[in-house]
Symmetry: C2
Subunit: 195 residues, 2 copies
DNA sequence: GAACTATACGGAGGCTCCCTCCGTTTGTCA
DNA sequence: TGACAAACGGAGGGAGCCTCCGTATAGTTC
C-alpha cells in the first residue's frame, strides 16, 4: 500500500445517511427475526423485515456469519453494561445477582451463540472480545467474594463463566431445574476440602 | 387402520439383504462424516461415502433429522452399555468414573446433539429414550453415593446429568479447564449447608 | 433355471437459501 | 443544477435438501 492509498483511506467519507439507517434496520430486524426463528431464520426474511433488498443486507454484512457476530457483540455489550447496577453489600449476593442476569440473557440467546460456534473457534476474536466485556463486568464481583472468603480461591472468572454458561445453555425444558442445578454448581464454589 | 392392514403390517417380509447392508453403510458413513464436518456435513457427502445414491439414503432415513436421530440413539446406547463395566468399591469414585466416560463421549458429539436441538424439543421422544438409557446406566451409581452419604440428597440424576452435560458441551478450548470446572461443579454435589 | 413381483436403487430436477454481480437510484458536494 | 461515487435491489448461479420415477435386483415359487 502506497502513501497515497493510505492517505485516501484515512480520509474516507462518512457513510451516507441512508446507509446508516439501513444498517440499523437490518440489525434490528435480525435481532427480532433470530429471536423468533433461531437458526432457521433466512437472510431473505431479515432483509424483508428490514425493508431492504438482499443486496443491501450483504453490502452491510458480507456473510451470514458477519451479521450474527455483529448481533452477538451488540447484545453482549448491553449485558455487560447492566452489571454496573449491582451494588449489594454482600459479596456472595452481588455475584449471584450478576449471574442471574447472565443466565436470563443466555436463556434467550442460545440459538445465536450455538450457530456462531459452528463457524468459529472459541478463541476467535469476536468471542474473545465478548469474554473481555463479560470479564470486566463480572470479574470484580468474583474477586470481592473470594477476598471475603466466601468463594474458593482455586477458580478464576473464566472457570465460573464457563460453568454457568454451560449449564444455562443446556436444553433442559424446565427453568426450575436449571435454577436448581445452578444452585448446586454455585454451591461448589463454596465447597472446601475440609468441609 | 383396519384389522387387515394391521395384520398385513405385522406379517411384513423382512428387509432385503442389500437394504440392510446399505442401512448400515449409511449409518457408518454418517458417523464418520459428521465427526469430521459437524453441521456442515451434507447428505450427499454421506451418501457418497456410503457408496449409495442420495435416493437410497432418503429411503432409509426420510430426512436429515431422522438420520441424525438414528445416529444419536446408536451412540448413546453404546455409552450406556459401557457403564456396566464400573465396579469400584468407593461409590463416589464409581460415580466419577461414569461421569468421565460421559464427558469423553460428550466432547466428541457436541455438533450432533446441537443440531438435533434445532429440530426437537428437549422432551422429544428421541431425547427421552436416550435419557432413559443414560439413567439406567448412571442413576444406580448416584443413588449408591447418596445412600453412602457422600452426595447431597436434594438432587436427582436428571439434575446431575444436565449439569455435567452442560459443562462438557460448552465451547471452552481447554480440556483442562473443562476438567477443573467439572471438579468444582461435582464438588457442589458434596456441599452441605453446614459446611 | 426361469418367471414374476415387490423391494430397493440412483440420479435428474425442483425448491430454498446463501451469495454475487451489475444496471439503476440516490445522497452529497461543489 | 450537475457530477460522481456510494448504495441500492433483484436476477441468477451454486449448494444442499428432498422428491419422483424409470430401472435394477433380491427373493420366492414353480
Amino acid at each position: 500500500m502506497s502513501a497515497t492509498e493510505a492517505t485516501t483511506e484515512l480520509l474516507t467519507r462518512p457513510k451516507r445517511a441512508d446507509a446508516r439507517r439501513n444498517y440499523e434496520k437490518v440489525l434490528a430486524a435480525a435481532r427480532e427475526a433470530f429471536a423468533e426463528g433461531g437458526e432457521a431464520t433466512s437472510l431473505e426474511e431479515i432483509a424483508r423485515r428490514a425493508g431492504v433488498g438482499i443486496g443491501t443486507l450483504y453490502r452491510h454484512f458480507p456473510s451470514r456469519q458477519a451479521l450474527l457476530e455483529a448481533l452477538y457483540v451488540n447484545e453482549v455489550d448491553e449485558l455487560s453494561r447492566s452489571a454496573h447496577e449491582l451494588d449489594e453489600a454482600d459479596p456472595w449476593e452481588a455475584l449471584n445477582g450478576w449471574f442471574e442476569r447472565l443466565i436470563a440473557y443466555l436463556a434467550t440467546k442460545r440459538a445465536l451463540a450455538a450457530e456462531l460456534t459452528n463457524y468459529l473457534d472459541p478463541d476467535a476474536p469476536v468471542f474473545q472480545s465478548c469474554r473481555a466485556s463479560l470479564f470486566a463486568a463480572g470479574e470484580p464481583l468474583l474477586r470481592r467474594a473470594q477476598e471475603a472468603g466466601m468463594v474458593r480461591g482455586d477458580v478464576d472468572f473464566s472457570d465460573v463463566l464457563h460453568m454457568v454458561a454451560g449449564i444455562s445453555k443446556n436444553t433442559a425444558s424446565d427453568p426450575k431445574q436449571i435454577e436448581r442445578i445452578l444452585r448446586v454448581a454455585l454451591d461448589g464454589l463454596r465447597y472446601s476440602a475440609g468441609s
